[in-house]
């Protein structure tokens, strides 16, 4: 069995801080760079900068929401103050376990915040693209949809047909042509 030469384990010394920048999967401590995960080490060289030492994880851990991350989530319940969601995907990576998040009424859109009605923006079951603005409280992350490309990306109407966006705050049922109100995401 031939072992991979570049494979490293946590705690393995990879180099000196003067030679490399500590990238993902590494940390620096007392002038040295150490690996912090199991994986293969990689050195990326950029112009006029120190080469960056990174370790590519072998066994990826579940994705975690981070501030500014774009997440895809499902609305579970709404009330006049916020919409509660389950975060399912973070930056394109699926989470093994759903994280809880809330979109507060003042974070739904950027303008005319006082006119926002949660019930006219989200309904339970909608799939929403949002951005994490804060780690929030003990329970949920705080999300925002205050940008054109953020908002509902998929939903079903009262009749059960799928909804198609027709403006930034209206969606139409494909079955009954009924127009429902949503904070739509601009199609990308």
């Amino acid at each position: 069995m031939a072992l991979v030469a570049d494979a490293v384990v946590p705690g393995q010394r990879l180099g000196h801080v003067q030679e490399f920048n500590a990238g993902v999967g590494t940390y620096s401590r007392q002038d040295f760079i150490y690996a912090s995960v199991v994986g293969l080490k990689k050195i990326t060289i950029e112009n006029n900068e120190l080469p960056t030492m990174t370790v590519e994880r072998e066994n990826t851990q579940s994705a975690m929401p981070d501030i500014d991350a774009i997440v895809t989530c499902k609305v579970v319940r709404v009330n006049p103050r916020f919409a509660a969601v389950n975060i399912m995907v973070v930056d394109g990576k699926p989470c093994t376990d759903d994280f809880q998040g809330i979109i507060r009424v003042q974070d739904v859109r950027a303008t005319e915040k006082d006119k926002v009605k949660i019930y006219n923006s989200f309904r339970p079951g909608d799939i929403v693209r949002a951005q994490v603005i804060s780690l929030g409280d003990a329970r949920s992350y705080y999300l925002s949809t205050a940008a054109n490309e953020l908002g509902v990306i998929f939903g079903t109407s009262v009749a059960g047909g799928s909804l198609v966006p027709i403006s930034w705050q209206e969606m139409q049922c494909t079955k009954t042509k009924v127009i429902e109100l949503r904070k739509c995401a601009k199609p990308m």
Binding site: V9, P10, G11, G25, Y34, V38, L40, Q100, A138, R139
Partner: protein, 281 residues
């Protein structure tokens, strides 16, 4: 009475065990170890493998002859407990469980005080090595099942070793792997039979590395050391019984040496897991 599980018969008879005619129970009088092939500073050979528990994020199985345990790591996953305050750091939760058949005397299904204590020790030994500040609002759960226990000290040490390998296997960011090692202080030679003999009694006890159950019965004290080999830092020392300072510092050194050997085994097991992944693709 435990109504949830199928209990054994009400009346039971202990099985007859026939010892060979030349059987002699081991005592430290013999001045050799219970396993005659081992020197006082020798550890038992270690078998360590990752990825045996498929539903866990990371797992490890360790075997030191008759000490066998499995460890599963779940997480990092969101904290969902009610009443939990916001914490910018991750929470580490350890639980060690002795299987009912793991010891000479049957263990109960219910968590007993010893298991609670061990769980506490384990989380103290491991948390300095995990970069918990990188996991806000999440929890890591470590579950260890002892399948067979051959000595309390070696069990704790093996649990620490296996848990840190499982954590690394789960892809959790760590500062270093933690190796655990145990040693027992045992008075050898004829001093036990004639304790009045002042010369023999003043003999320092021998340090037996990785003592097994039979040897632990005669121990005056024991030590379990959790150590991060490449950072050269000790994360936990558990000292019990009575011993002189010189003996303790000597055994700490022995344990650190042994931990470096264990580290090589852990390193190998993790590299092998990479290779297994490569082959699976």
């Amino acid at each position: 009475m435990d109504r949830k599980r199928v209990p054994g018969p009400e009346l039971s008879v202990a099985p007859l065990v026939e010892y060979p005619s030349d059987f002699k129970r081991w005592t430290p009088l013999d001045e050799i170890r219970h396993d005659p092939k081992r020197q006082p500073e020798d550890m038992r050979p270690i078998y360590l493998k990752t990825g045996l528990i498929s539903q866990a994020n990371g797992s490890a199985y360790i075997e030191l002859e008759k000490t066998k345990l499995a460890c599963g790591v779940y997480g990092p996953r969101p904290v969902k407990k009610v009443g939990q305050v916001f914490s910018g750091k991750g929470v580490l939760y350890c639980e060690i469980k002795f299987a009912t058949f793991s010891c000479a005397k049957r263990r109960t299904n219910i968590r007993d005080p010893q298991e609670r204590e061990l769980s506490q020790i384990l989380s103290q030994a491991l948390s300095p090595a995990i970069q918990l500040d990188k996991l806000p609002k999440s929890a890591i759960d470590i579950y260890i099942t002892v399948l067979e226990s051959d000595g309390w000290g070696s069990c704790v040490a093996a649990a620490i070793t296996a848990a840190s390998v499982a954590l690394a296997h789960a892809g959790i960011e760590m500062l270093d792997l933690v190796a655990g090692c145990s040693a027992a202080y045992i008075q050898t030679g004829p001093s036990i039979s004639s304790s009045k003999d002042s010369i023999a009694a003043s003999r320092p006890p021998q340090i037996f590395m990785d003592a097994d159950l039979e040897e632990e019965k005669y121990e005056q004290g024991a030590i379990v050391l959790a150590y991060m080999p490449s950072l050269n830092e000790v994360t936990h020392v558990l000292q019990s019984g009575k011993a002189e300072g010189s003996i303790i510092s000597q055994s700490v050194e022995h344990c650190m040496e042994a931990c470096n050997k264990i580290y090589a085994v852990m390193h190998h097991a993790l590299l092998e897991s990479i290779n297994d992944n490569k082959e699976a693709l």
